[in-house]
Amino acid sequence: MKRNEMVAMLLAGGQGSRLYVLTQEMAKPAVPFGGKYRIIDFPLSNCTNSGIDTVGVLTQYRPLELHTYIGNGQPWDLDRMHGGVHILPPYVSGSTGEWYAGTANAIYQNIQFIEKYDPEYVLILSGDHVYKMDYSKMLDFHKANKADATIATLQVPIEEASRFGIVNADESDKIYEFEEKPAKPKSDRASMGIYVFNWEKLRKYLIEDEQNPESSKDFGKDILPKMLADGERMFAYPFEGYWKDVGTIDSLWEANMDLLNPNIPLNLSDPAWRIYSRHGQNLMPQYIGENVLIRESTITENCTLNGCDLWYSVLFSGVSVDQGTKLNSAVVMQNAKIGKNCTIKYAIIADDAVIEDGAIIGEEPEKYDGEWGIAVIGSGAVVRAGQVVRPKEMIKPYTVKEAE
């Protein structure tokens, strides 16, 4: 049997409750992003581009969309004879069985899967972030330091550091302390939730942790502090580049807008580091009709635009926008239909939503007195003609916004 040096385990079971209506029907990693991607495309493509060909995807919350999307892993080149992508949902064994109780428990329950490949290292990833990263460089760093565990870290502005799990390390990047969302952070190195472990070591800690009734069975809260307390060699890998947790409506919207900003280093068209995705086989090129004004926007296949103005907007496939409609800083997901003379500003319109003529959705922050936020229209929701959806308002999936 071929041996795999490093197996990746991707934690994709999170609900992403702070994405509200967008994750009502699907797990967070399946949330669409950037015109033709889903969030999980980033870690999966990173794996492929880093030469990792065995990936376990741990799912739990509303997995249907995610399972269908990953399928046999072919779009990411992960349909392999040895390894490839495997979906690992919680399971029942004999008379017992349980949901994944925490991130560490999720891996613990799949020890058998990892053992099958007999890896030397295990890479733990989460499906919540938009970033491009070469995990093989992180592994090199891990090996060079003869580490037992390596945590990828990102430099964040010190004033924001209290929102993150902070890693304190010496000049040689050796970790001496963790601080979870510290009020007074000692350093600006935030954990990205990406870990490399020596498998033998991790296995031991997972089994021990499982025996401990006090444990919350979480990597950040239990496994890593325990390893540090035991004096294991732990290092902080410095990552440089774009990284964004898209766990909130605002951050998801911002990350989409970042794609339009040439000054932000999130280049998805780099042929050397492609982001792969599963997309329609039968989509026409976009059709741009008469009198369309487009400024700093991205548009993809099968969109139809007629007589509309687009400013700073991201359109997914199959979106149609009709005469007289104005979009400003909007993210419009697959197959949404937008009618005539609508005004849509600072909004996320989810897939299959229908916006009827003359609807007004969202507003610029500087022009709104109330509590401002991104307006969100859920999947398949309908906004009737002339209706107004205020900033921060959310229309639930498959509901109708109409005159009361």
Binding site: G34, S269, N282, M284, P285, V292
Partner: protein, 370 residues
């Protein structure tokens, strides 16, 4: 559909005015409509009719086609049983087959392949026809008519070398003519035909014995009156892409919404090779009207009445009008181009002005720099 599909990728008549566009590929792999190759229409029509074994008959310049088709996955044709097969030319010194004599020689050389299959029918088609033909309906009519062979036709405008049909009310074809003049409107065969496999094999035997060389003449024309030869009317959009003019016009017709809706109807989707291009980015200063634009483009200038394939870049101040720009074309700052067909990897330098006319678009060959 219990049929074997056969696609001809080349013209064999040598009458076709060769253009620079087919120097680097065969007609079936000509790029079309911003993201397709001509063969996608024929292949998809077969796949949509549940034909799952398709042989692609190549004569020359088939490198680009082989690259496009790959293992057939994008058409769901990577199968254990059946799937897609490239049938490259066979000319053995011990046989009297030649590569370029005609479609009939090509069929003779793959007689074994046809015979080995257990299908009842054979559907053959020309990969250079742009049409979304409902092959299931065509077979239904073929069976109802109890025909020997049924040819698909459409009322379209086509030019020299194409086959005109006289079709009677009961679908039978009473005469066929060859268009010798400039393009006119008429009832033209689209290159798609259905015949029973046994009948085709029998005909091929006879063709070998008598050293027939011309498929249409021997199979269709000579048997008019003795065998029941029928026509199936394809009512939707159709275009036989032949000359450069035809190529330009057929592309431009895709800017018409009704034509697109017909050709790309949701019930019989057109499949093509999937590439992972990013969505197209429109920068400040971009304007587009009446354009079909593929993914991966960066548009900073003005594009009008044009078709842009993947990864085309239009720099600031550039004006692109009535143009077909294939993959990776770069239009430099301030360049102005009208009525231009640019093949793959063409670079048009800054401030260049190129002006063709409707009947005579400027053709720029693959990889050239202007």
């Amino acid at each position: 559909m219990n049929a074997l599909g056969m696609i001809f990728c080349d013209r064999y008549d040598n009458k076709t005015p060769k253009s620079e566009l087919v120097y680097s590929r065969n007609p079936a792999s000509m790029p079309f409509g911003g993201r397709y190759r001509l063969i996608d229409f024929t292949l998809s029509a077969m796949v949509n009719a549940d034909i799952d074994e398709i042989g692609i008959i190549c004569k020359e310049n088939y490198g680009s086609l082989v690259d496009h088709i790959g293992n057939g996955k994008d058409w769901d044709l990577n199968r254990r049983q059946g799937g897609v097969k490239m049938l490259t030319p066979l000319a053995r010194p011990d046989s009297n087959l030649s590569i370029s004599r005609g479609r009939l020689d090509a069929l003779k050389s793959i007689k074994g392949y046809i015979a080995d299959n257990s299908y009842e029918w054979v559907v053959f088609a020309f990969g250079g026809t742009v049409a979304n033909i409902d092959l299931e309906a065509m077979l239904e009519q073929h069976i109802a008519d109890d025909a020997y062979i049924t040819l698909a036709y459409a009322e379209i405008t086509a030019g020299s070398g194409e086959v005109l049909l006289d079709v009677e009310k009961d679908h039978t074809i009473s005469a066929i003519h060859y268009q010798k003049n400039a393009a006119t409107k008429g009832i033209y065969a689209l290159g798609t035909a259905i015949i029973k496999k046994e009948d085709l094999l029998e005909f091929l035997e006879e063709a070998e014995d008598n050293d027939y060389s011309h498929l249409n003449r021997e199979l269709v024309q000579k048997q008019l009156g003795t065998k029941k030869i029928c026509g199936y009317c394809h009512k939707g959009f159709a275009h036989i892409v032949d000359t450069v003019d035809e190529y330009y016009d057929a592309n431009m017709e895709m800017l018409n919404t009704a034509n697109r809706d017909d050709l790309f109807n949701a019930e019989r989707p057109i499949y093509t090779k999937v590439k992972d291009s990013v969505p197209t980015l429109y920068d400040f200063g971009a304007a587009a009207s009446n354009c079909l634009i593929a993914d991966g483009c960066v548009i900073k200038g003005i594009v009008k009445n044009s078709i842009l394939s993947r990864n085309v870049v239009v720099e600031e101040g550039a004006i692109v009008e009535n143009a077909i720009l294939m993959q990776n074309t770069k239009v430099g700052k301030g360049a102005k181009i009208h009525y231009v067909v640019a093949d793959k990897d063409v670079t048009i330098s800054a401030e260049t002005e190129l002006c063709g006319t409707k009947g005579l678009p400027i053709i720029i060959g693959k990889g050239k720099q202007v």
